[in-house]
Amino acid sequence: MEIFLFYIFGALAVAAAVLVVTQKNPIYSAIFLILTLFSVAVLFLLLNAQFVAAVQVLVYAGAIMILFLFAIMLLNIKYEEKVFSKRMNLKIVSIIISIILFFELTYVIFFREGLGIKGDLTPDVVAETGNVELVGKILYTKYLFPFEVASLVLLVAMIGVIVLAKRKF
C-alpha cells in the first residue's frame, strides 16, 4: 500500500515538475508547481512528517505560490514565443551537464558508505507523543537560536521587499 502510494505520487511529482519547466505560460508553470508541491506533501505524510506536510501545503502551496501568481499578474506577461533561450548550444551543454549531475547523484546514492547514527525516535515513540508536539519541543529548546535567527531573516526580508517595492526608480 505504502509503496503503491509512493509510486503514484512520485510519478505525479516528476510529471508535474517536467511540466513546470516545459510550459510556455508561466501561469501553467505555477499551477503545475503547486501540483508538485502537493505530491511532495503527500510523500512527507508517508514519511511520518505530518507537521512539515501541513506547513508545505500552507506555506508553499498557499502563500509562496500565491505570491508567484500575483507577480505574474502584476507583470502581465504574455506567452513566450520561444520557451527556451535562443542560444541553443549553450542550452544543450546545460542539459548534458545536468544529466551528468543526475548520474553522479545516483552513483552517490547507490554506492554510499553507510548512514549516520540512528536516533531513538522510532515511529512508535513519535506516535506516542505526536509529531507536532515533538517538533515544537525541539524547535523551542535545541533549535531556539536558529529559530530566532529565522524570524530575523523574515523581518529583514519583509523590510527589504517594502523598500524595493516602494522606491520609484
Binding site: 549553450l90 551543454v93 549531475l101 553522479e104
Partner: protein, 643 residues
C-alpha cells in the same frame, strides 16, 4: 629590590603633556600650552625628588623596580617592559627633570609668540618622556626605545624651523649620523641576545660575569654599543652632527644637545659597567676616543665665531672628558661630571640664548662685546657658568673635572698621557671659554648699528631659570667634594651601590699607592694651567686687542685649519658622501629603473593583458554564471567519487 608601583608616573606625566600639547595645544592657545608643558615636567621633577629622597633614606643598595607589562614573546625571545630606579638612574632623572624643568620655564619666554609654540612644547615634553624611559629602562630593548625616542625628538627640534633649508639639512645630518651609531647599538644588542639569550640588564650582567674578563664576544658587544654611544654623544668620528644641531631653538640646544641627550652614551656605558670592565680593550678605546675628542673639539672651539658653535664644541669636548672618565673605570666621576656639566652647560646655552634673544638673533661673537651693562643678570650667571666649566676651585666643574683627571692618572686603566692631554684640554677650555666670555660681555661694543638700540635684558621668566641654574652650577660640585679637600665625596658614596660589582672585576689597586701629596701637586698643576689660560685671554681680549689678529696672521695655516674644523665635514663629503651618491646614482639608473621597475611594470602588464582577455568571460548572462556554478558542483562531486 623593592617594588614601587608609582614609578611609571614619572614618564606618564611628560607623555601626557606631549599628547595634550600636540593635539589640543593649537586649540586652547599658548597659555594652556605653557601651563601644561611646564607643570607636567614640574610634577615629574617633584616625583623624582620624592623618589630620590626615598632612595637616600633607604638602606644603601636599594633598587626600586616596577614591571609594566609583558612586551614581546617569540620563541625564547621574551622581553618584559619594566623600570628600575637605582642610584645611577636617580641621579639621571634628577638631572633630566630638574634641568628640564628650568629649561621649560625658560622656553616660555624664549619661544614667546613663535607660531609653532604648541608643537615645540609637545616635542620637548616627548623628549623628556623618552629620556626618562632611557634612564629608567631595565632592559636593553626598552633602553633602545628611549634611545631612539630622544633621537627622534632631537631631530624634530633641530628642524623645528623647517622653512629654512639649512635647518632641514642639519636635522638630516643629525639623524643620519645618529643612525650610523644606532646601527652599532642595534647589532650589539642582537649580539647580546645571541650570547646571553636575554636583553634584561640583570640577567645579561650576571651571565657576563661568568664569562670572565677579556672574552672576545664581550669585547665585540661593548665596542658595538660604544659605536652607538659615539653617535649619540657626538664623539670622534661621529661628532659632526652636534655643531650643526645648533640650528634648533637655543633651549633645545641647552636641554638636548648639552645637558641630557648627548650624555646618554655616558649613562649607557655606566649602566653596562660590568660588560665594559670585562673588556679592557674596549675600555682603553673608550678612554682614548674620549680624550682625543676632548682636545680635538677644544682646539676647534678656540677660533669659532658663532656663540652657539663654540658652546657646541665645548660640549663635545666635555663629553670627551666623561668618556675618559668611564674609560678609565671611574664611573661615578663620569656621572658626576655629567651632572655638573648639565648644570653649567645648560646654563651657558640658556645664557647664550638670552644674549641672542637680547640682540634680536645675532649669534656672531664679532658683533657683540660690552654686554655687561645691558644684561647684568645674564652676565653674572654666565660668569658663574664659565668659572664652573673652566674648573676654578670652588665651582662645580672643578670638583668633577679634578676627579676625572685624578682617575685618569691613578686608576689601573689610566696613565700619565691621558692625564696630560686632559690637563692640556683644561687649559684650552679656559682659553676658549674666557675668549667667548670676554668677546660677549666685556670690552668694547661691536654691535651692528641697527641692533644697538634694541638691546635689552631678557624677561624674568628667562632670567629666573638662569639664576637657579647658576646657583647649582656654583654649588653643584659640593655634593662630591673629595676626601683630600676635607669633604667626604658623598656623591660617589651614593652611587657606590650602582657600581658595587666593580671590585669583583678589577682588583682595585688604585689610589692607595699614590701619595696624597701627588694628588695635591696634580691638582695644582691643572689649576695653574687654567689660570694661565685665563690670564692669556685677559691680556689678549681686554688689554691688547690686536694680538689675536696678529696670531691669526702669523699662524694663518693652522688658524684656517681650525676655523674650518680640520675640514672634517669636507673630508666626509669627499670620502664618504660623494662616492655614496655616485654609487646610489648607478643603482638608481641601472638597477632600480631598469630591473626593479621593469619587473614591477612587467608583472603589472601581464595582469593587465590577462584581465583584458579574461573579462570577456563576464557576459552578463545569468544563466552562464549559473551553468558555471553547476559545473563546479559536478566537478567537486566527481572528484569525491573518483578520488
Amino acid at each position: 629590590m623593592e617594588y614601587l608601583p608609582t614609578l611609571y608616573l614619572l614618564i606618564l606625566f611628560p607623555l601626557a603633556g606631549a599628547v595634550a600639547n600636540g593635539f589640543l595645544g593649537k586649540k586652547f592657545g599658548d597659555k594652556f600650552v605653557s601651563w601644561v608643558g611646564c607643570s607636567v615636567i614640574g610634577f615629574s621633577f617633584l616625583l623624582s625628588y620624592i623618589f630620590l629622597s626615598k632612595l637616600i633614606s633607604a638602606r644603601p643598595g636599594t633598587v626600586y623596580f616596577q614591571r609594566l607589562f609583558f612586551w614581546i614573546g617569540a620563541g625564547d625571545f621574551n622581553v618584559e617592559a619594566g623600570l628600575t630606579l637605582d642610584s645611577l638612574s636617580a641621579v639621571m632623572i634628577m638631572v633630566v627633570t630638574g634641568v628640564g624643568f628650568m629649561i621649560h620655564i625658560y622656553s616660555v619666554g624664549y619661544m614667546h609668540k613663535d607660531p609653532g609654540y604648541a608643537r615645540y612644547f609637545a616635542y620637548i615634553n616627548l623628549f623628556v618622556a623618552s629620556m626618562l624611559i632611557l634612564v629608567l629602562a631595565d632592559s636593553f630593548l626598552l633602553m633602545f626605545v628611549g634611545w631612539e625616542g630622544v633621537g627622534l625628538c632631537s631631530y624634530l627640534l633641530i628642524v623645528f624651523w623647517y622653512e629654512d633649508k639649512k635647518n632641514a639639512d642639519a636635522g638630516k645630518k643629525a639623524f643620519i649620523v645618529n643612525r650610523i651609531g644606532d646601527c652599532g647599538f642595534l647589532i650589539g644588542m642582537l649580539l647580546i641576545f645571541a650570547q646571553f639569550r636575554s636583553l634584561d640588564f640583570g640577567t645579561v650582567f650576571t651571565r657576563a660575569m661568568e664569562l670572565g674578563i677579556g672574552n672576545p664576544i664581550i669585547v665585540a658587544i661593548t665596542l658595538l654599543l660604544f659605536v652607538g654611544a659615539v653617535g649619540k654623544s657626538a664623539q670622534l668620528p661621529l661628532y659632526v652632527w652636534l655643531p650643526d644641531a645648533m640650528q634648533g631653538p637655543t633651549p633645545v640646544s641647552s636641554l638636548i644637545h648639552a645637558a641630557t641627550m648627548v650624555t646618554a652614551g655616558v649613562y649607557m656605558i655606566a649602566r653596562c659597567y660590568i660588560l665594559y670592565l670585562s673588556a679592557p680593550l674596549t675600555m682603553t678605546i673608550v678612554a682614548i676616543v674620549g680624550v682625543a675628542t676632548a682636545i680635538f673639539a677644544a682646539t676647534i672651539g678656540l677660533v669659532q665665531n658663532d656663540i652657539k658653535r663654540v658652546l657646541a664644541y665645548s660640549t663635545i669636548s666635555q663629553l670627551g672628558y666623561m668618556f675618559l672618565a668611564v674609560g678609565v673605570g671611574a664611573f661615578s666621576a663620569g656621572i658626576f661630571h655629567l651632572m655638573t656639566h648639565a648644570f653649567f652647560k645648560g646654563l651657558l646655552f640658556l645664557g647664550a640664548g638670552s644674549v641672542i634673544h637680547g640682540l634680536a638673533g645675532e649669534q656672531d661673537l664679532r658683533y657683540m662685546g660690552g654686554l655687561k651693562k645691558y644684561m647684568p643678570v645674564t652676565y653674572w650667571t654666565f660668569l658663574v657658568a664659565v668659572l664652573a666649566i673652566t674648573g676654578i676651585p670652588g665651582f662645580s666643574g672643578f670638583f668633577s673635572k679634578d676627579e676625572i683627571l685624578w682617575n685618569a692618572f691613578s686608576s689601573p686603566m689610566g696613565n700619565s698621557v691621558l692625564w696630560l692631554v686632559g690637563v692640556a684640554t683644561a687649559g684650552l677650555t679656559a682659553l676658549y671659554m674666557f675668549r667667548l666670555f670676554y668677546m660677549t660681555f666685556l670690552g668694547s661694543s661691536r654691535f651692528k648699528p641697527e641692533k644697538e638700540h634694541r638691546i635689552h635684558e631678557s624677561p624674568k621668566i628667562m632670567t629666573i631659570p638662569l639664576v637657579i641654574l647658576g646657583f647649582f652650577a656654583a654649588v653643584g660640585g659640593w655634593f662630591g667634594i673629595p676626601n683630600k679637600l676635607g669633604g667626604s665625596n658623598r656623591f660617589a658614596k651614593f652611587l657606590e651601590p650602582s657600581f658595587e660589582l666593580r671590585k669583583y672585576i678589577i682588583r682595585d689597586t688604585s689610589n692607595g699607592e699614590h701619595s696624597l701629596s701627588l694628588e695635591y701637586i696634580l691638582m695644582f698643576i691643572s689649576i695653574i694651567v687654567v689660570l694661565i689660560g685665563w690670564s692669556i685671554v685677559h691680556q689678549m681680549y681686554l688689554k691688547k686687542t690686536d694680538i689675536p689678529l696678529k696670531i691669526a696672521n702669523v699662524f694663518s695655516r693652522s688658524y684656517k685649519l681650525l676655523l674650518n674644523k680640520y675640514y672634517v665635514d669636507e673630508i666626509y663629503q669627499a670620502v664618504i658622501i660623494n662616492p655614496f651618491i655616485k654609487i646610489s646614482n648607478i643603482f638608481w639608473k641601472a638597477v632600480d629603473i631598469k630591473i626593479v621597475d621593469g619587473l614591477v611594470n612587467g608583472t603589472a602588464n601581464v595582469f593587465l593583458s590577462a584581465g583584458e582577455r579574461l573579462r570577456k568571460l563576464q557576459t552578463g548572462y545569468i544563466q552562464e554564471y549559473a551553468l558555471s556554478l553547476i559545473l563546479g558542483t559536478v566537478i567537486i562531486i566527481g572528484y569525491f567519487i573518483f578520488k
